[in-house]
Subunit: 302 residues, 2 copies
Amino acid sequence: MSLLVVGTIGIDTVETPLARRDDVLGGSAVYFSFAASYFTRVSLVSVVGRDFPTAFKTLLTKRDIDLSGMQVADGQTFRWTGKYHKNMIDRDTLEVRLNVFEHFDPKVPDLACNANYVFLANGSPSVQRKVLQQMKKRPAFVAADTMNFWIETAREELDALVAELDALMINESEARMYTGERELMCAGRALIKKGPRCVIIKKGEHGALVITTDGAFFVPAYPLTAVIDPTGAGDTFAGGIMGYLAAKQFLSRENLRRAVVYGAVIASYTCQDFSLDALQRTTRADIDARYKELLEMMSIPS
Amino acid sequence: MSLLVVGTIGIDTVETPLARRDDVLGGSAVYFSFAASYFTRVSLVSVVGRDFPTAFKTLLTKRDIDLSGMQVADGQTFRWTGKYHKNMIDRDTLEVRLNVFEHFDPKVPDLACNANYVFLANGSPSVQRKVLQQMKKRPAFVAADTMNFWIETAREELDALVAELDALMINESEARMYTGERELMCAGRALIKKGPRCVIIKKGEHGALVITTDGAFFVPAYPLTAVIDPTGAGDTFAGGIMGYLAAKQFLSRENLRRAVVYGAVIASYTCQDFSLDALQRTTRADIDARYKELLEMMSIPS
């Protein structure tokens, strides 16, 4: 197994100014692994309740995602209900029920303990670190996501996690909050000082700024003409990046740049419909075509 | 004369969270022509009052900017006072005194009536159109800037102006307001339908999205580690674009892309100090070096 992800599997209810969907498949590890599955085999470590629909499970196994690390616990699956503002960016979380996720204790299956690429989706930094402790050898590349809640309530644990990472993925507002720096270049450099060799600052519709130990680069978001539901965009962005890198098994400066473009492309498909609906209609050929299109939009002749 | 600009010359008072400067040189036509002067000779059409300091005039003539179209009228020079919020993006206009600008009637000097490249800085669309009527022949490339005020109060005049343009430069929020489209690709396409072959949507620190009749491309903002005062960034962005194009005298797809990168580079210098202070310390060699650096940050190996 080349790629391991640990995060949530959830059942979401999402409302946008134009539509609403009840009880759709969601969760960070779900979005991530679906995106990464275009490039490599993914092992998903998470927990669901007894109520988790077989249809949702099938959706993942059809993508050849390894669910041997998906625990099934007594109780209900993690649930999230959110409502997007008119700008389709800001959102209010109307309800979170952790359910079986409240006592989630990730157990990495034997085969996945040798994964070279690991993604720790947003979650408690102490749980994220627990995953790393189960690895049989130091993976080639460990990346993690975090959020304002952990920056505010678990900064020491988060610092300890970040020190162990190769890459931190973080929203622009969270990068500013974590470092106290207003300019993203400064925030990125301050985060690099905490340990990772790469900081991927997510700017939503404005793309991403990537700061590494030896420089910086930009990738724009693919410019959609209609955004239906941005839920999962960040996790599929991460999934595209990590999936591409894990498939290459070679972390060059060039491959990292290509990986982030693939991440942006897959994230754009995610926004085109609710849940995984648009991605389910998307082939690797579609992704490669949009990848070329995005590259063309970024190219400046010398 | 290859490039003509019509816009304001002003005396600004600017307050940021960290500092304040009183009575510094400003105005759209000033910022624009200073930026464009790195590439070509610019003819500046505007009006000042009897109080306009000789030192400010010298600052422009030293850059070989043609001031034969700068009227001197009885009264005081245009004045603007603004205060930036903590995010260094949003700002409040504390005071505007139009002064001699209230009755500004632009007169394009004879030589400049043959300019091939024309920039109409933000202003009343009917005054902007008056400038075009004075041209002896249809210029090769006419660009204009506008703002929310004209979209709200003079939409018909603005539509008539936009129909005559080759390029419209507009902020993202204004592009949305003008078209009613939330997604910038849709807003850009709606604006293209009004006439111009190119719409340059300015996104401040997130760069620019350019939509043309045959596609779209992105240019990021150069990532500064310290922003001192963003006043004039948009006008120097335009100045870099138009100056580069006017120097090339050849509007290819490639030159337009290069021009927008040059615009982003010059705008970044503008933000590094108040008024024209940072640009005054900047050489063409500095600009070329940062241009290369920004290209590198945008390049994805194929």
